[in-house]
Symmetry: C2
Subunit: 334 residues, 2 copies
C-alpha cells in the first residue's frame, strides 16, 4: 500500500512477477478491496483463483511523511509491518515494499532483527555501470561508521554479489578519495587494513569515477558518502540529459538528430533506470527485505520481486551469517 | 613545468591570458630555454619583448609521481615552489600551476602559510550546473573534518562565490544525505547548527542530486565526501556519453542522428568541461594559489589565470580574513 502509485503499480508488478517466475507465490498485503480492484485492472484475477496470488488484508498504512522509526513501531498493522512479519514468521521467504524507505528499514530491523554477529545492517543497491551493474553499500542506513562495520559490509556485499550478479569471485573495492592504500579518511584507512585481512577478492581503494567504469563489483562505503555518491550520480545523469536537450534545440539539424537518436536515448535511460535494478536491500537482518523506490512502476516491482526471489533461493541470510562468522573482523557487541 | 603538457600548454595559456586580460603581467617560472621554445611555438615572443610576459628561470621540477609534502619541502627551487614564493613575497599577486596537485597544495600551505584564524584551508572547485556553476569545498584537502572547519569552509566559499561568480548573496548549502535539518552524520548535524548561526544565506542541507540542479551556489562538505561526489560526477558524465555512443551504434538512423547531434554533444562537453572553470583554489592561505588540472590545455590555463586575477583583484585573502573574524565560529587553535 506504500509508495507513490500504490496499490496499482505494486499489484501490477506482482502480476508480472507471478507470470514470469513460476517458482514463487505472492501474498499481497493491504486493503483487500483496493487490491482486488487493482488486480482486476492488471488482469490478475486468474492468478488469485489459481492460488498463485493471495491477499492478506489489513487497513493500516504508513504515510510517506511519517517519522520512520516511530511509524514502524506504532503501526503494527500497517501493510509494511504485516508484510515484514510474514517474512519473520516463515509465512513468507521475503518481503518487498515501495513504501516509506526509512520506515521499511526500521520495520525490517525491528521485526526481522539483525543477524547476531552483524554490527550494523547496511542498505545495498545495484548501480548501473558500463558493463552491467555493481553493488554499493551502505547507501544510507549508517551515516557514521566504524572500520569494522565496513569490513562486514564487504562480506555482506560480496555474498549479495555472488547471488544476484552470479559472480564467482566478485571484486570488492573500498570507496576513497584516491587509489593509493594510504589515501582516505581515518575510517577508510583503518577499514582498508581490515579488508586486506579478509578472504575476499579485495582490489583496494576505488574512486567515485571508478564506480560507473565498472572497476569493482562491490563498492564498500559508509552510508553518508554512499548516499552522496548515489544521489550525485542521479543528478549528474539528469544534468547531462537536460544539457543535451537544451543544446539540441539550438538548430534544426540537431533537433532532427535528436529525434533520430530517440531510441538510443531510451536505451540509455533503460540501462541506468532503477526499474531494472530491483530496489535496495537491507543486508544483515534475519530475513530478506527489499525496499523498492517510492516511484516504482510495475516493472520496478517485478525486478524487486526477482531480487527477493534470488536472495531467498540463494539462502542469503545463512550465507551472510556464515561469512561474518568466518571473517577475521572482530565484531564489537553494541 | 608541471602537468602532463608542460611547458607547451601552460605557456600557450599564459599567452592567451596576456592577450585577453590587459590588467595583468605574467611571470613564467621554469627552464628558460624550454619556455622560450614554447613561447615561440605559441607566438608569444612579442609579449616577452613588451614585458607583458617575463621568465623566471629555475631548473628543478616536481615530478607527478613524487610524494606531495616531501617534494614541496625538499625542492625549494622547483618551478612550483618558486612560483608560490613569488606570490608570498609580493612579487606576484597569485600563482597558478598544473603540476602535482598534492605538492601544489603543500607548497601553498608551507610557503604562503594559512590565514591565522583559519583552522584548515580547503580546496574549492567550480562545478558545472544546469544554470552555470557552483562552488564545492572541500574536495580533498581535509579528509577528516570537525564541524568548525565546515563552518569556516562556508565563509570562505561564500567569499569566493561573491568574487568569481559575482553574486550578491550566494546560497550556501551543506551536503548531506537528506534535506531535513536532522539528517546527516554527526559531523554535518553539528555543522548545520553552526551554519545556522552565521551571517550567510544558508539554505540548509542539500543532497548530491541538488548540486547539478543548481540549488546552491556554494556546497560545503568534508574533503572526503566532496572528492567522492566530484569524481562520481565525472564518472557518471563519462558513463552517460559512453552509453549514448554505444546505443547510437545499434542502427543506421541513430548513427545518423548522432552525427547530426554532434554540435549539441560538443556544446554539452564544453559546458561541463574543467577547461572553462579554472581549476581548484586553496582557500584560507595567505595568497592566491590555483591548482589547475594536470591535463590542462592552454584554454584551461587561461581560465585558471582569469580566476587567479579575479581573486587577487577582489582581495580574497583580506575578505576571508575579515569574514572568518566576523563569523561566530570559534576557531580552535590546532
Amino acid at each position: 500500500m506504500g509508495g507513490d502509485y500504490a496499490p496499482a503499480e505494486p499489484v501490477a508488478g506482482a502480476v508480472l512477477a507471478a507470470r514470469e517466475f513460476d517458482a514463487i507465490d505472492l501474498q499481497l498485503v493491504g486493503q483487500e478491496s483496493a487490491i482486488r480492484a487493482a488486480l482486476a485492472t492488471a488482469g490478475g484475477e486468474g492468478l488469485l483463483a489459481s492460488g498463485r496470488l493471495s491477499i492478506v488484508h489489513t487497513d493500516e498504512v504508513i504515510g510517506m511523511e511519517e517519522h520512520a522509526a516511530s511509524a514502524a513501531r506504532s503501526k503494527p498493522n500497517s501493510s509494511m509491518v504485516v508484510a515484514t512479519r510474514l517474512a519473520k514468521k516463515d509465512k513468507a521467504d521475503a518481503c518487498v515494499t515501495a513504501g516509506h524507505s526509512g520506515a521499511a528499514m526500521a520495520a525490517a530491523l525491528f521485526t526481522l532483527g539483525r543477524i547476531r554477529s552483524v554490527e550494523r545492517p547496511a542498505l545495498a543497491v545495484l548501480f548501473p555501470t558500463i558493463d552491467g551493474c555493481c553493488i554499493i553499500l551502505d547507501v544510507g542506513a549508517n551515516t557514521d561508521c566504524r572500520p569494522t562495520y565496513l569490513a562486514q559490509f564487504a562480506v555482506m556485499g560480496e555474498t549479495y554479489a555472488r547471488i544476484v550478479l552470479g559472480l564467482e569471485r566478485p571484486r570488492v573495492g573500498l570507496l576513497s578519495n584516491g587509489e593509493e592504500d594510504t589515501k582516505g579518511s581515518q575510517l577508510t584507512i583503518e577499514a582498508h587494513k581490515l579488508l586486506r585481512g579478509l578472504e575476499l577478492n579485495f582490489i583496494g581503494n576505488v574512486e567515485g569515477k571508478d564506480i560507473p567504469a565498472a572497476l569493482a563489483d562491490v563498492v564498500v562505503t559508509d552510508g553518508f558518502s554512499g548516499n552522496v555518491a548515489l544521489k550525485m550520480a542521479e543528478g549528474m545523469f539528469k544534468l547531462t540529459f537536460d544539457l543535451v536537450r537544451r543544446e539540441a534545440k539550438r538548430s534544426i539539424l540537431t533537433q532532427l538528430g535528436g529525434a533520430l537518436m530517440r531510441p538510443a536515448f531510451l536505451g540509455v535511460r533503460k540501462h541506468v533506470h532503477y526499474e531494472e535494478y530491483g530496489g535496495a536491500i537491507l543486508l544483515g537482518v534475519e530475513g530478506v527485505a527489499i525496499v523498492a523506490h517510492g516511484r516504482s512502476s510495475a516493472r520496478a516491482i517485478r525486478s524487486a520481486i526477482r531480487v527477493a526471489m534470488q536472495c531467498a533461493q540463494g539462502g542469503i541470510v545463512d550465507r551472510i551469517r556464515g561469512g561474518i562468522a568466518a571473517g577475521s573482523t572482530t565484531p564489537v557487541s553494541t
